[in-house]
Structures are given as C-alpha cells and as structure tokens.
C-alpha cells in the first residue's frame, strides 16, 4: 500500500488521525494532515483504508 495526500484539499478535520494515529498526524499551525508513514505495514492497512473512506475532503489516495 502506498499513500498520497493532497494538502490543498485537506480541511483539517482530523478524521484520519482518529482512524490511524500511527500513520497520520496534523500540522500544529493549521491542522493540515501530515503523513507519518507513506508505506505502512500490513497491520495498518484496514485503519488507513477507513481513514481514506471517511476523510471528508477526499484528500487521501491509496495505491
């Protein structure tokens, strides 16, 4: 799994951090998503898939 994020779209809702805190964080100044691990291990895949689905801005793409 490879994650890419679109910072411009991100609205800082933090849903990804709630779903997969080991993979996503938020920048302190403006809450924009920070990708901690672009190729997370298999045990994170379900949480990352959920994050991508519930991200309101569709800012998380998986390949």
């Amino acid at each position: 799994m490879r994650i890419t994020i679109d910072e411009d779209k991100c609205c800082g809702a933090g849903q990804c951090v709630l779903a997969a805190p080991e993979v996503f964080d938020q920048r302190d100044e403006d809450g924009v998503v920070v990708l901690l691990d672009a190729e997370p291990p298999a045990e994170q895949h379900a949480a990352v898939t959920e994050a991508a689905q519930i991200c309101p801005a569709a800012a998380i793409a998986l390949a």
């Binding site: 609205c11 951090v17 938020q26 309101p56």
Partner: protein, 405 residues
C-alpha cells in the same frame, strides 16, 4: 392520451411521529425508500432535490460542482427568518473553494486533535463543578440549564475569550437566530445585536490581547488589515453559536435516549474510554441533531443516483436519513453503542465537515459517563411524550430535560 399532471412534490418537514422523537420524520423516511434523489417542496413553495442515501450524499458533498453559497438565488433556506439573515451572515460556512478553505484554515490549528486533547483536564474540571452544583441543589433538575448548556458554553467562552458572564445574552440571541419560527425582523435584530457585541469584543482584544482565539484573530487579521472588524466578528459569532448549541443538544438528547435504553446506558456509564468513544459516534449517528440537512446549490449539471440535477437547482442532503441508511448501518434504527458508526454524517461531509468535531467528541466522551456515574438513579421526571423537543430549531434536541435521581 394526455399525460397525468405531475403530482406535487411532498412538503419537507421536521415533524416526527408521535412517540418516536429519535427517528427521522415518517415523510422523509418514506422518500428514502422511493429514490436516492427526489423532489420536495419547501416552506416558500420552491422545490429542492432531497438526497436520501449515504453514498450519494458523500459524493455530492465532496463534489466541487456543489455550492454552499447562500447568496445563490436557488439556495434552499429553512425558513423566512433564515431567508432574512442569509446575506447578513456570510462566513466560511457558506463560502466555496478556494475562499472557504483559506478562511477555515485560520482556525483549523485551534481545533486539532492534539489541541483538543490538551483541553481534557480543564473540561473534566468544569464537568465536576457543574455536577457538584447539581448534586448540592438536589433533584429535580433541568439538565439543559444545569449541565448540557453551561458545559459547552463555558468551554467555547474560554477558548474564544468571550466573558461567560454574558452567556444569558448570547444564548438568547443564538436561540432567536436558529429558531425557524422567529419573525424575520427579530432574527435580523438578534443577529445584529450579537454582531455588535462581538465587534466591540474583537476591538478590545486588539488593544488588550489575552491568551485566546479572538485575541489571535484580532492580532493576526484585524491589526494587519487583512480582515475588517465585521468579518472577524462574524467568524467569532459562527464559532460561538456552533460551539455551544450543538454539543448542548447532544448532551441532553443523548442522555434522554440512553434513559430509554438502559442496557446501552450501562455500557456508557461503565465502559472503557474506548467503548465510550464508540458510543459517542453511535449517539451522533442515531440522533443527527443537525436535522435540517446540508443545504447546497448545484453550480453545474450533475448526474447522481440516476437523476439529473441541473445547474442552479437546490439540493438538500438529508444527513439524518444517511445515518439510518441500511446499506451502511445494519439494523439502522437500533441504538447500538458497540457498532462501528464512524462513517456517520452527523458532522456533514466534504470540505465543510464540522470544524469543531474533535472538541465536541471530547466534551461528549467526558460528559455522558461523568453524569451517569454521579447519578446512578437518573430518571426522567416527566413522561417522554410530554418533553419539549426542538422540532422547529435548526439544531434538534430538547428545550428542557427534567430529571430526578
């Protein structure tokens, strides 16, 4: 053969079935069964497309061809009072990209998960103090005035730097503004009164800044000339209203719903923090207090759910219906605090999804168990059918929740 005249579109309503204060209105539930996108008529005789299911709502709310700008002539307002104030209330909640996110990002740093987690001890303190006062006064109590409303009001006041002593004033203005039955002149006057108050406050913060959000707003945007005082005050008003009305109603309505489901109540009272966090998502889903739908206008032709929505037409995403969509939530009308509910649309979806959601989550995760542990014998002091539900307010909930213990 002549074609039969098209049947008039059914009127959109927030009236629920007697005895079912937690379920969406029967009229709209029926519409969901008929089609994913269907015509309804509104209070002023205009029509809108009601989007009834989860999948199409998420697609539309994320779609850049959908506008939240209430200045469009086709925008579906909820009442004459909202119609009167729509031009007066322009903030990022009714702006489109790229303007919307540029403005929203002034505040997203204030509402990150980390920042909200750091508020935990302070929120716990406020909760303890309010419950102490309730316990000392003894039963009966109105949960709304004694707990549900003061808790989020105190928290948002501290965060913004609004003096809590003024809560009677801003709660009254807010209540008039979000009441669909308000006379248009009254809604405008309340809106202006609150704006005047916040303009003075923002100007004061510019001169004597403290450690709060409005001081930062004044310093970064007012004093630099990037925004006018009117713009700053409108943003402050949005945060103040959204920050207290919503959470307050979730606390009261959620408590009321749990009292009708004792097994679920026990799970929230005795559950681990993780289980309680899940329960809060489920209560948000089940209750969907933002019951008037996410309101939008198409700015281009959009095909969705087998229906062509034309540019200029009104769209209402009924998030209360999406949250009861059986395709997404099995046995959707059952309150089940252990279900996976996080895909709910109680906070909306798309770029406008609630800015304060992680504040609301923490307030609710702390408030329900603290209340239920403090008063294990908590019960309604009046039959459910006699409780004053907020059918006509933009935010659903209870005007009053009399309880004993």
């Amino acid at each position: 053969m002549t074609e039969a005249p098209a049947a008039p579109a059914p009127a959109l309503t927030t009236r629920r079935a007697p005895g079912c204060p937690f379920d969406p209105p029967p009229v709209t539930q029926e519409l969901r069964e008929q089609a994913p996108v269907t015509r309804v008529s509104l209070w002023n005789g205009s029509t809108a497309w009601l989007v009834t299911r989860h999948e199409e709502q998420v697609a539309l709310l994320r779609d850049p061809r959908i506008s939240a700008d209430s200045r469009h002539s086709g925008y579906p307002t909820v009442s004459a009072s909202f119609e009167a104030t729509r031009a007066h209330n322009r903030t990022f909640i009714t702006m489109d990209e790229p303007e919307h996110n540029a403005q929203r990002r002034r505040f997203t740093g204030d509402f990150t998960i980390k920042r909200m987690q750091a508020l935990r001890p302070r929120i716990e303190r406020i909760i303890t103090d309010l419950l102490d006062a309730m316990e000392q006064a003894g039963p009966p109590a109105d949960l709304v005035t004694d707990f549900a409303l003061p808790l989020p009001s105190l928290v948002i006041c501290e965060l913004l730097g609004v003096p809590y002593e003024d809560h009677d004033f801003f709660q009254r203005c807010s209540a008039v503004m979000i009441d669909t039955r308000s006379a248009p002149e009254a809604a405008l006057a309340a809106s202006q009164e609150l704006l005047d108050y916040l303009e003075k406050l923002v100007e004061f913060k510019a001169e004597q800044p403290g450690d709060d959000l409005l001081s930062r707003l004044a310093e970064q945007y007012l004093l630099t000339g990037e925004s006018t005082v009117d713009e700053c005050a409108k943003q402050a008003r949005l945060l103040l209203i959204a920050g207290h009305e919503t959470t307050a109603n979730m606390i009261a309505l959620g408590t009321c719903a749990l009292l009708q489901h004792p097994d679920q109540l026990a799970a929230v009272r005795d559950g681990s923090p993780q289980r309680v966090a899940g329960a809060v998502e489920e209560l948000l889903r089940y209750l969907t207090i933002t019951h008037m739908g996410r309101r939008r206008v198409a700015v281009a032709d959009i095909e969705v759910g087998g229906q062509l929505i034309r540019a200029g037409e009104a769209v209402i995403c009924a998030n209360d219906l999406a949250n009861r969509d059986p395709e997404v939530f099995a046995d959707p009308d059952r309150l089940d605090v252990d279900r996976a509910a996080r895909a709910h649309l109680a906070f909306g979806s798309g770029p406008h999804q609630c800015l304060g959601q992680n504040l609301a989550r923490i307030e609710l995760q702390l408030a329900y168990p603290a209340l239920l542990r403090r008063f294990p014998g908590l019960r309604l002091d009046r039959p459910l059918e006699e409780l004053p539900f907020r059918t006509d307010m933009a935010v659903y909930g209870l005007h009053e929740l009399p309880l004993s213990w």
